[in-house]
Amino acid sequence: MKVLIVDDSGVMRKIIARGLHSLWIDEVVEAADGVEGLQAFGDGSSIDLILTDWNMPNMNGLELVQKIRGAGHKHPIVMVTTESEKTQVVKAIQAGVNDYLVKPFDQEMLQMKLQRVLPNPQTA
């Protein structure tokens, strides 16, 4: 299981990676914005899950999701963001995110979101 974390905050990437490690997911690829995220995603063959922030420089998370979905990829994507207005959530879902995690979150909430998009993260 390899997870792509896209967030312009290095600390937030560490927090998410720490949460993933507690779920026995050790393979993590980090990117600081949508452009880097798209490069790290490549053809998608080595990535199983994407966790992306919304507000980032260069290319935001919504654009990243639109590009990945536009290329026909079906990878599970969770938007991890402080944006929580209903209109924003609807916009993200329309763009193709599978789930939405509002910051701040605790490890339990992260785990719950992963369990929704993955069959069994502990055994993946």
Partner: protein, 165 residues
């Protein structure tokens, strides 16, 4: 035309920030942040962040305009960093700076969410490594100054907003 926040709106903003702080520290740090004091500063009085070497500011625009600032002691910034990433820092390194910026982002993001009937846009956090950075405001801004205690450390929040127009 009203040029300063009325009492109800000042209280609503302070409450939104306080609830957000409660949520952020409770969820992510495992240590609560306890409010110690809250008061309005005279508009022209300088608040010297002399005991706080690390200052985070986030701008807000829209129905309310201005900044929300956090003044963190070095101990508070390092404690927060250790709590959220599990790595202790001996000094104010890049992780501590990033963590402080993220703290500002989370607190102001949560406050913005709680003030949802107001149309607000949030800027990116700026972290200033200047302990004696002075906060000064135009006369129309009446800042709210709130002190918190957090796991044997302390930090202050300065809410300096004015209505649009």
């Amino acid at each position: 035309m009203t040029t300063v926040l009325d009492r109800d709106l000042s209280q609503a903003v302070a409450d939104a920030v306080d609830e957000s702080i409660d949520e952020v520290f409770g969820m992510m740090a495992g240590h609560p942040a306890e409010q110690v004091s809250l008061h309005l500063l005279p508009a022209t009085e300088k608040h010297m962040a002399d005991k706080h070497p690390l200052t985070v500011t986030l701008s807000l625009s829209g129905d309310l305009q201005g900044i929300i600032g956090l003044c963190l002691s070095g101990e508070a910034a390092r404690q927060w960093t250790a709590d959220i990433i599990g790595e202790a820092a001996d000094d104010i390194n890049q992780d501590v700076i990033d963590a402080a910026g993220e703290l500002g982002n989370l607190i102001v993001g949560g406050a913005k969410r709680r003030l949802a009937p107001h149309d607000l846009k949030m800027g990116l956090p700026s972290v200033i490594l200047a302990g004696r950075e002075a906060f000064v405001f135009p006369r129309r801004v009446h800042p709210i100054y709130v002190s918190y205690r957090y796991a044997e450390t302390s930090f202050d929040v300065i809410i300096a907003l004015a209505p649009q127009g």
